[in-house]
């Protein structure tokens, strides 16, 4: 069995949510539609539905994160689940063995779902392979590999702003594609949703070797790369990349790849600007752009809750559902 098939049960339903690849278009649309109905829950006086009442969800974070952990926690609470946050930072040398030990202990506490963030690619898959059959795993970011809920909330945001027909859209992803799990998941999701054109824009040092094989058009010039695009997704530039001689300086990066109002003029007039956060103002984009009318960066955060509610409740649905 391939690693990705772990995600789907015999009835084609979501069992774990580990990566976008391995899922089909219909399942992505089901997630977006379900998220759409959860978005209404925030309009209730009581911002809660009783769907996962009595379930226990553990946020298992081996890597720091505020936004992702908080929105997962809020999503779980709005589904009426009980949530436990566990932050584990440890040296990579002892990790393999300790990870399984940690899991066995949490399993013994009758946990129903783990939300896992880990610095190693494949960590969520590893856990899904080794966990008791009744437990679901949601990947909240693993190394450079995948961050599927971020990609789905981005798709949700695009669909809300631009409508359901991805075929007429040009989308540019700008920045550190090479090290970005977000970009990988976004590219898979955009392709599955039949997006008209997916571009990646970055210096040569930050583009993975097999980029064209991902079904994208590669650009090394920002103005060319965003010409006439409908959506621009800026990626976060990790400061530590500067040390690796991959980039000259933040200042020079901003000159070449930073998004400013004047560069935005090359894109479609109704272009939408996105960023998974947290933003480095003056590195990936100007404050003027980040806070401007085209930016939906804060909407992305809001949508993250509804999308995570959808994924959690779908994965927690009983695995062998009887037909009504």
């Amino acid at each position: 069995m391939s690693r990705d098939n772990l995600q789907i049960d015999g009835n084609g339903q979501l069992r774990h949510f580990l990566s976008i690849s391995g899922l089909n278009r219909q399942l992505l649309i089901d997630i977006l539609d379900t998220a759409e109905s959860f978005a209404g829950v925030t309009e209730q006086t009581v911002k809660k539905v009783p769907l996962l009442r009595g379930k226990t969800i553990v946020n298992l974070f081996f890597e720091a994160s505020t936004r992702t952990r908080t929105t997962f926690e809020l999503a779980a609470k709005r589904l009426s689940a009980d949530v436990l946050n566990i932050n584990i930072t440890q040296s990579s040398a002892t990790k393999g063995e300790t990870l399984l030990d940690t899991l066995r202990n949490l399993e013994a506490m009758h946990v129903d779902m783990f939300i896992v963030r880990h610095a190693d690619s494949g960590a969520a898959h590893f856990i899904a392979q080794n966990i008791a059959p009744h437990v679901s795993i949601i990947n909240a970011g693993d190394g450079r590999h995948s961050h599927p809920t971020q990609a789905m909330l981005d798709m949700f945001t695009i669909r809300r702003v631009k409508g359901p027909d991805f075929g007429r859209l040009r989308v540019a992803i700008v920045g550190d594609i090479m090290h970005s799990r977000v970009a990988r998941s976004q590219i898979h999701a955009l392709n599955l949703l039949n997006t008209g054109e997916v571009r990646i824009v970055a210096p040569k040092t930050l583009i993975p070797a097999h980029a064209e094989a991902l079904g994208t058009h590669v650009f090394h010039d920002l103005r060319e790369g965003i010409k006439d695009v409908d959506v621009i997704i800026m990626l976060r530039l990790q400061h530590e990349r500067m040390q690796g001689a991959l980039l000259p300086s933040e200042h020079e990066y901003f000159e070449l790849f930073g998004l400013t109002e004047s560069k935005l003029a090359y894109a479609s007039p109704d272009v939408t600007v996105m960023h998974p956060g947290p933003i480095n103002r003056g590195v990936e984009m100007d404050s003027e752009v980040a806070d401007g009318s085209r930016s939906v960066i804060l909407e992305q955060v809001t949508h993250g809750i509804a999308v995570r509610m959808a994924v959690m409740s779908m994965a927690m649905s009983p695995k062998e559902a009887p037909v009504e």
Binding site: S37, V49, S317, P322
Partner: protein, 168 residues
């Protein structure tokens, strides 16, 4: 229920009963909320025939069902829409078929997550018996006596038709 009876006639009967009930209860300015999907179709007609100005509310009770742990997510969930404040409102809750009462239990719970209504009355097109909870409708279009293996289904919205099916 007569097999060939027009659903419009049943709805007209419900309107007469509801108008009387609203007047005798002294409820002013009631709002109608239909339960997806059949209940919304009936609610639309009641709202028009009762000349209620307030926009129609709709509930999808999928997130409030009591059988999630058995059957899981309903694949088609529409957002609930209550385009008015529930607080202190007199609500007429509408469904197509009243059976076990579990749908109504879920709908009541969901309504209370939007606020505290002044009152809730229940109107259903069909009451087929078979209750599993202590829930009764204030207004019933027609009573139909069905066997447990029988199933009554409303199709619509245009035209609305009722069909009795036997589950194998």
């Amino acid at each position: 229920m007569n097999e060939r009876e027009d659903i419009a006639t049943i709805i007209d009967d419900m309107v007469v009963q509801l108008d009387e009930l609203v007047v005798s209860s002294g409820h002013t300015n009631p709002a109608i909320v239909g339960i997806h999907t059949g209940g919304v179709w009936i609610a639309e007609q009641l709202q028009r025939k009762m000349a209620i100005k307030e926009p129609l509310g709709s509930l999808d009770i999928a997130f409030y069902r009591d059988d999630f742990t058995r059957v899981g997510m309903n694949p088609v969930v529409r957002p609930s829409e209550l385009p008015f404040s529930i607080d202190n409102r007199h609500i007429i809750l509408v469904d197509d078929v009243l059976h076990t009462g579990r749908t109504i239990r879920a709908a009541l719970n969901e309504l209370f997550d939007y606020g505290r209504p002044a009152s809730i009355m229940l109107a259903t097109l069909i009451d087929r018996g078979g209750r599993e909870l202590p829930i009764q409708a204030n207004v019933v279009g027609r009573y139909v006596d069905l066997k447990p293996e029988e199933h009554i289904k409303l199709s619509g919205p245009e035209p609305l038709t009722l069909e009795i099916q036997k589950t194998a």
